[in-house]
Subunit: 549 residues, 2 copies
């Protein structure tokens, strides 16, 4: 195996590119990695890219599928790919898959955090993994530049004097980069939370997209109650601390409100009985209703249930900002800031003091899609299928990734392959697809469809793609089409709303049983299939744990 | 009920002291707190110390026992006190009790974190709780000054611009204080880790005294492996990252080393097979053997087992410092610091590059004991029993808390009551005890004994004290004496060493079964008695979870 050349990047970082080799490892291959004996014998020569070398060795005759992202789309593709035919390598800043429908439950302790995640690296899977961010793609040579991202809270955050470094210092510290070659690339980088540049939201609101977010929310809710229980806290401050705002009336916001209500009225009421009357949950939404994807009847049922549970739903409300500290006219001594609270600025109501804001509205494109995937310098000729413009266009035209005008998402054909088009002001109408690059999940749109950005669509696309790749019949097969299996949402006090894909609405207790059954069935590992009902049972009997650490 | 007077403290903080009232609440009392209806009716008048007022109402005829600390001693006393006779109020910066013998298991994922903790506030207990630090004690009037301490990682750590505040800013931000009256005071504030002022240890080492510590260690171990698995990491750096140092050869250090070994050789070996040969665990101790409280034979068995498992034990080694970054002559590019590592400075070996240092050696007195409990301004005459010096001494003498000369721990008599003595240069030999102040756990020593600072002693003292208080026969009873039930330690690969209190040594697999059985039996809640074996089973079948968040 020959050592490859070093590129000098403009930023001064060294990127080491390895050729896509087909060398067979003579050693027993465990997943990506060659056995230690074999590894050590190569030590002297090639010490800096050990793991990529092993990836190359472990790959044998198989094609390498590099999957960017470990969410619903990426994790599903990686797991479903036939490891006899493909070497799946996941690149993601997060080493696990988060089972998002259960995040709201974990954020209040109905379930333990780890029941909502599955590690990408697993002793029962053959999926390779590098923890990092994709920085750039070289479509011509089939390589992705990856910036490593081992995010350890305890590491590198203190300087010599033991002081914590500032946030900037952490951000400036850019990880080293390396290049990974692919035969097929699957882009499933997902979306970020859209804050619409509302001042203070990014800094002070909490989100609910990851297990780490759920952990922050759980600690914050319980800290608000503990702070309110102190004799030094005034009643005005208590009301502010225990005012919980949820922005966004979609399923995530509604389910979080419902779970928070359950936590308060099933557990906290026994522990802080005097505080519960001061506590308040409000769901804000800009539109005129919540759960827009549900039937009018089910959305109304939800609003009615929330009203009975004492959760306020305020539609047609606009959040204009969030800042630390109490509102000016709240009667809270502004010097009384030992328990920090926040002030939510609403167009309709002015300042509202809150203990916590959970923001669950809107998606914004991943910077990788917005920036890295723009123009394409050189195309890989044999991987391009020109739709309009004739084959000469491959070389003549300056190409760019085709994106949805409104959302900026990657456009794909019905085989989930990335669409490209002639760059610029549309005088050249050339259109093509890249046959070895696929995009799915929240960062992609199948051209001509309006499939929602949901886990269901992502996971169906991923199943379809893995199946086609395994059978190697992408070109011949009928394209992907989404089968709507319905939507469901938990709405508190053991009630849910379920709307079947082919009609058929259920609400109330029966829907709740369907809800729990569905997510228990869909949970991935046997471990979690055992732990989830165990926690449901234990927390029903003994109450949720309220410790913070 | 009358509102009490405000003291002006030198620091400018206002402390609100409430009289110890015997008013009976007319309302149904749930634990400390009166029902909401009653609470709200008092709102107008007394809004700033609602919870203390409720404590006073909820107390009825009972004596109030204020317990400082929620460790083995404090938590046990609080749980065991008869709630018909006493109102137990725990004051602690930590809202839960940590079951310390299982912390090492949680730090590698053999058990989930919450299986090693029990919340002080519980819907099945009558124990009151304030989250705070004791600042000072007024023995004359029977009040403790408490500084609130709601430690929320998400709260107050960002300034207006969204930047994180520096560590100093966090420390300077002192919580507000309030006063809590007591009839009996139980001091169980425990100890801190003793770093012997070794440079860099406080800042860069990890400890194993709390669940939060265990969480940091778990994330750190796995981050080291993930960083070592990156192609951008050199082999030299891999060896540094995967070199784990444990300082202290007591049961905590030994058990952590053993659990880390299990994690590596049962789970990580299947996930990172190529990295395990580079990984190393070393236990350092200044003395000439480990597990000093065990028989020579068992300590040897442990050392032999560790040798077979590949864990190095280096006795008679002195740690002189710890700093971030690789050793100078390690061959690691010092610019290659994206994965920070550390350098341990040893007297015997010089610089050693490490990925993590777990420090588990020695105890140091709690600052509360060292500073707050020094001289006593005025004594409560009716609570003093003069041992030497005649009753006149109560007023004539300037008293101080009697402390152990070497460790600085509080001295008690055999009824665990705090000893006091004439201050100064021992010309006055007056000795006395405070009958309503008790000290136990790691911060106290029963005069004339050499009981070790262990959970077993703390919990036996706590059981004894609660029983005596419940029977109200402290004066009459025989004093406390420790019944040594033996010691045990897990040493890896399903082996343990157990030394019975009355002789009888067991080692190996049988001892491991005893070890697990003992801790399962001693675990507090039914919830944990169910979850602990469940996690043992699931992690045996499916492996430990390796996700970090």
């Amino acid at each position: 195996m020959q050592l490859s050349h070093l590129h000098q990047l403009p930023l001064g970082m060294q990127v080491l590119t390895l050729p896509r080799s087909n060398l067979r490892g003579v050693c027993r291959v465990v997943g990506l990695t060659a056995s230690c004996a074999s590894r050590l014998s190569h030590d002297g020569q090639q010490r800096r890219c050990l793991t990529i070398q092993q990836a190359d060795q472990g790959r044998q005759d198989r094609q390498r599928v590099v999957i960017l992202g470990s969410g619903w789309a990426g994790y599903t593709v990686a797991r479903q790919l036939d490891s006899k035919k493909y070497q799946a390598v996941v690149v993601s800043p997060r080493s696990y898959f988060a089972f998002t429908p259960l995040l709201a439950s974990t954020s209040v302790g109905t379930l333990e955090f780890r029941t909502a995640l599955e590690p990408v690296r697993s002793r029962r899977s053959n999926v390779g993994f590098f923890q990092g961010w994709a920085d750039a793609v070289d479509f011509k040579n089939g390589t992705v530049t990856i910036e490593e991202a081992i995010d350890d809270q305890n590491r590198g955050l203190k300087d010599e004097s033991g002081k914590e470094k500032s946030k900037e210092a952490k951000q400036v510290k850019k990880g080293k980069t390396f290049a990974l070659s692919y035969d097929k690339l699957v882009i499933t980088v997902g979306c970020y939370s859209q804050t619409f540049n509302t001042p203070g939201i990014r800094e002070h609101a909490l989100f609910l997209k990851d297990v780490a977010d759920a952990r922050k929310i759980r600690n914050r809710i319980l800290a608000c109650f503990e702070a309110a229980a102190l004799p030094t806290t005034s009643d005005e401050m208590r009301k502010v601390l225990l005012n919980f705002a949820v922005v966004g009336g979609g399923p995530t916001g509604i389910e979080f409100g419902a779970e928070l209500h359950d936590l308060m009225h099933e557990d906290l009421v026994r522990i802080y009985p005097e505080l519960i009357p001061l506590a308040k949950i409000t769901v804000y939404d800009v539109s005129d209703k919540v759960l827009p994807m549900f039937d009018e009847k089910l959305a109304k049922y939800c609003m009615e249930t929330f009203r009975r549970e004492g959760i306020a739903i305020k539609t047609q409300h606009h959040v204009e900002g969030l800042r630390p500290g109490p509102p000016k006219d709240s009667g809270v001594d502004t010097k009384e800031c030992a328990h920090d609270c926040f002030t939510l600025q609403l167009k309709e109501e002015g300042e509202v003091g809150v203990g916590m804001v959970v923001w669950s509205t809107g998606l914004m494109n991943n910077p990788f899609v917005a920036k890295a995937l723009r123009q394409i310098s050189v195309l890989p000729e044999n991987e391009v299928e020109v739709l309009e413009g004739g084959h000469d266009a491959v070389k003549a035209v300056q190409w760019e990734v085709k994106k949805d005008a409104r959302s900026g998402s990657i456009m794909t054909d019905d085989r989930l392959r990335m669409r490209i088009q002639a760059q610029g002001d549309a005088t050249d109408k050339s259109q093509a697809i890249l046959k070895n690059v696929f995009a799915l999940g929240d960062c992609a749109i199948l051209e001509g469809t309006t499939y929602p950005a949901t886990a269901q669509v992502a996971s169906q696309k991923a199943m379809w793609l893995a199946k086609r790749l395994n059978k190697n019949d992408i070109e011949k097969s009928a394209g992907f089409s989404f089968k709507n299996l319905g939507v469901m949402a938990y709405i508190g006090s053991w009630n849910a709303v379920v709307q079947g894909g082919s009609g058929g609405n259920v609400s109330g207790r029966a829907a709740w049983i369907l809800w729990r059954g569905a997510y228990l069935t869909k949970s991935v590992s046997i471990r979690n299939k055992i732990l989830i009902p165990m926690y449901w049972f234990l927390n029903w009997i003994f109450g949720r744990d309220i410790s913070r650490f």
